[in-house]
Subunit: 622 residues, 2 copies
């Protein structure tokens, strides 16, 4: 246990929960990392699409970023209302479920789950991308680096939510500070130079133009750029984790996150344009991230550059943490409604929902391995889930206000309605423009997950119906069971089992399988050591049943006999008493057959309601 303690911390009592609450400063780190760090891959994802346009492509980053910022503002106002209406946590799942019904809720849940898995995978892969930009020799180790970082994050999260806030506070603010300095400095230089600043070190030459601009290409660039907005819903989903007053603290946190994000997106778009910086082909030697090029152009390749890249690496990698904070919460909400296994709803030793953390870690690792840890290959799967969840959440809020009525409700309904239409349109655009590149995977996965969730609920419902019992204890027909004792030879183990059988019932049978050896001896011992003394004591005498086994099978004949006896005695319970030798060291198990264990397992598997297994252990002293 001490290794586990060391890794994930001592167990926390349920009553220690109060301490695990967040203020806005920590809230920005825990719930904002994904949204903020999106600035590092969103614009780059859009720029990667316009690589074939050469130098001409860069100009399009301004209108693309502008559209994304407008979309972001619409979504922001929408979510502020959601937080107020759902102070106990208004994730897309809850809002859609409560206002639009089960189907919409499950759709939102499936979309969110996929979204969070991708958040974790993309955050890590983009962080490693930043590292490779600074240290190109690490490029061949991309995947190993991704997996090592994933492991680290998983362990940190298993320790619990408060400590993760503390761990991530410093890098988040360092990231915001260094980027603000870079952007501010670049802006001053650009204005001073009349919009044509001289880079300290020139960025790599742009690719020659190989394609004409088209609406389709710009649509795809916009779709990729939309990944910059993912993570905005995290705050509304996790309102419960905030300090009192919950609603205000959460809203303030969301406002801060969105303002910072808009400044970053706008600043990057402007500077990329005036410094003529384009994306480099991803997943290949020579790759350098857009932010790396930008920082070098503005400040040169000095200490500040490495500090900036370091903070980008940290914040991107840790942005995956948003997913680790939220994925388990969504799973828990779904599990509490019975659509996922109950284990997702039970808190682990550190008051976190451990099961969700394990599943998220596993799935992210799977995606990273599948796509070799290259961000650009993951991006097409990403935005569909996120925007689908946005849409369902806003649509749910519209239904919410519709039911409430009143004057304020109408304006609220308008805000959420606008959000719903805007995000729904984006879902359509993203799905169509990214379908071939990977959105089809998400489109297939969402219904699959929904079907799974519905089957889980069905199973639980049936179980509930079958086992529910609101009647008093049924005390009729309390009759002694028929007890069978499988016996190999007459020793203390057999005696212990037989003694217990005699306590339980007057109807006891010894059961022996004859494989040709030792049977005669057992028969003699039985009559001398069992039948005689019980007769003398006036107790009911257990009889010995010997089963022939020409094929030397031991367990099957016993199983068959038990099932037959059960059929012959439809009104009685059959207790199979299995005497078992328990050894002290694991390697001693190699020295014994495991017939007792097999017999128990098979009786459970092939048995039925009236067959009961009693295990009488015999401990060998060590």
């Amino acid at each position: 246990m001490s290794l586990i303690d060391l890794l994930v911390g001592r167990p926390l009592k349920s009553s220690e929960e109060r301490g695990e609450k967040l203020g806005p400063a920590a809230g920005i780190a825990v719930f904002g990392l994904d949204a903020l760090s999106s600035a590092a891959y969103g614009p780059e994802a859009a720029l990667t699409l316009v690589i074939p346009l050469g130098a001409a492509g860069i100009a399009y980053i301004i209108p693309i970023s502008g559209s994304i910022i407008i979309l972001l503002l619409i979504v922001y106002f929408s979510y502020c209302q959601t937080i107020e209406a759902y102070p106990t946590g208004g994730g897309s799942y809850t809002v859609a479920h409560q206002n639009l019904g089960v189907f919409a809720g499950l759709l939102a849940a499936a979309a969110l789950m996929i979204d969070y898995v991708l958040t974790a995978a993309v955050g890590i892969s983009a962080g490693v991308g930043a590292l490779i930009s600074a240290v190109p020799s690490l490029q061949p180790h991309t995947l190993s680096l991704c997996l090592a970082i994933l492991l680290l994050i998983t362990i940190v999260n298993l320790r619990g939510v408060r400590e993760t806030g503390a761990v991530f506070l410093f890098p988040t603010y360092l990231f915001v500070a260094t980027l603000f300095i870079t952007l501010g400095l670049g802006l001053v230089k650009a204005l001073a130079a009349g919009g044509e600043p001289e880079p300290v070190i020139a960025p790599p030459a742009l690719q020659p133009q190989t394609m004409m601009v088209s609406a389709w290409l710009l649509l795809k660039a916009f779709s990729s750029g939309c990944t910059a907005m993912t993570g905005v819903e995290a705050v509304s989903n996790g309102v419960k984790a905030f300090r009192e007053p919950v609603v205000k603290t959460a809203q303030r946190t969301l406002t801060a996150i969105v303002v910072i994000l808009i400044v970053l997106l706008a600043g990057i778009a402007y500077l990329v344009r005036v410094y003529h910086i384009g994306a480099t082909p991803p997943g290949q030697p020579g790759y350098q991230s857009v932010l790396s090029q930008l920082t070098i152009a503005v400040t040169g390749r000095g200490a500040f550059y490495y500090l900036t890249i370091g903070s980008i690496l940290l914040v991107l990698v840790f942005s995956a943490n948003t997913a680790f904070a939220d994925f388990p919460r969504v799973c828990r909400a779904v599990a509490q409604d019975g659509y996922l296994p109950y284990s997702f709803a039970s808190r682990g030793r550190r008051l976190v929902y451990s099961q969700g953390i394990y599943v998220l870690a596993f799935l992210s690792a799977f995606l990273l391995v599948l796509f070799g840890g290259v961000t650009d290959r993951l991006i097409p799967l990403y935005a569909v889930g996120a925007f689908l969840a946005f849409t369902l959440s806003q649509a749910g809020m519209v239904a919410h206000w519709k039911r409430k009525r009143g004057r304020r409700s109408r304006s609220s309904m308008f805000v959420n309605g606008l959000g719903a239409v805007a995000t729904a349109t984006t879902v359509g655009v993203v799905t169509v423009s990214k379908f071939a590149e990977g959105a089809w995977i998400t489109t297939l996965l969402i219904p699959t997950i929904m079907i799974l969730m519905i089957s889980v609920r069905r199973h639980y419902d049936r179980e509930q119906v079958e086992t529910a019992n609101l009647a008093p204890l049924d005390l009729s027909n309390l009759r002694e069971p028929l007890v069978l004792v499988p016996i190999l030879r007459w020793d203390k183990i057999a005696q212990k089992g037989l003694r217990f059988a005699l306590i339980l019932s007057a109807d006891v049978q010894g059961l022996h399988v004859d494989c040709g050896e030792g049977s005669q001896r057992l028969r003699e011992n039985w009559s001398r050591y069992v039948e005689e003394p019980t007769k003398k004591a006036g107790l009911p005498t257990p009889k010995l049943v010997v089963l022939k086994s020409p094929y030397r099978f031991i367990i099957n004949p016993i199983l068959d006999y038990v099932l037959e006896l059960e059929k012959k005695n439809p009104d009685r319970e059959i207790a199979v008493l299995v005497p078992e030798l328990v050894v002290q060291r694991w390697y001693h198990y190699l020295l014994h057959n495991h017939r007792a264990a097999w017999l128990k397992a098979l009786l459970l598997l092939k048995g039925n309601q009236r067959i009961i297994v009693i295990n009488v252990p015999w401990y060998l002293s060590s």
Copy 2:
């Protein structure tokens, strides 16, 4: 089951055993394959050592083969006597154990086990070596070929001994026939050409001389060549498998094997000498086996050549079968004396000792992988075990005759004594000359295996002492147990468990772990649905014990409570009745916690003599 039936055949009844007996013709195939096929790698192993002597080295094959044939004859006469003295099977283990004591017996057993594993590995690797000689392009796939063949042999052997005899009859006799034809033809040509025959196709040029001849080098060559004798003991070990009259049939089989082997060794030595054929460096491209070169020199590269190589391949590969027939027999003999797990002594579905077959297959595969399937790297490990077993067997026979006394005994003692001295000397020579190349592994393994065997026996002895019971059934103090029923909520599963508990004892406690949810409800249900009706019926009322669990652990509090209760009631048995939900499909297990299974396992592991586990299953209808 039908797939297993297809692979290894239908189960055989114990009474079908009689049919599984061998005559001399089949006996040569089953027990002689190893000895005969040794002719294909023994001389080559010796020749490989003299490669550095160039053309001059080949001459030394005559005295080396001569010494080996003399040694073989001594061992042959020795074993004929062993067969007569031990008609029920006189393997080295049995003979050494009975006549020289436990220690010598275990030494022989360890030596034999190692020997058989190497027989399997070397047989297969040498067979693949023959194949590579004929089809050089297969050289890179050496290891995969070895493992595929090992799998095939394992399956054939799991089908049972009679069928293996039939399968291997044809290739054995084809091998003997083709080699006899080659050797005879070569002899005629050599005599006709006055001892200097012209090869049909000249063998590859010999390596230039790089070393002077030394006694040490010749000793090493002799040690390697001795591997040609391995397998001679197989017949005496398996006498029991022969048809009546057992002794005569076995002796005739051994005689036939030894005569054929001597002809092969002598013929190969002579022809290699007159055709100037040397070994090629093993494990490298361009490798060609000595027998392949010889056949080409005598008959050319025609259809007969491929027939010969085919039969060598088959017989070498199948020679591993000797090990598969004998390794399980040795293990069984040792297991019957309690020095190996009993499972080695029980016959599987096809009347073979399946456990031994599995272990042998696994160990051979391990060796093949470790040494890349190259015969020459396996050879140094080989002879130590075989000759150690020879020595112990002969020495045991000396002790046997000494005890018998009488005139015939004295001459018999002399024969076996000569064998013992000759083989003991060989053990010394082989160990010293091959120590650095690999004999050290065998030298380390033998005592390790012996220590393991002794510990196994000790464990069984202690178990025997602790559980032996030759007293009548103890009927004192037959008191009802204290029954504990862990309960999560009041449902049909709980009711079923509680009903059974009430049948067993008047002293029943419900046990509930309070993690903050549902406990109050259970308390109310308990008083209404359990306490009231039992009181009304005049039955003893089970009380509900609620355990607090601040850390949300469920199983540990129950375990602690059970152990404490056990301490408080030193004179009673504590029965823990675990109600368990059994689902119909394996994937449904994902939907439920496995607390019942964990609790059962931990109670068994941490419990003690007075704690009994009763498992009352509840089956969900599917």
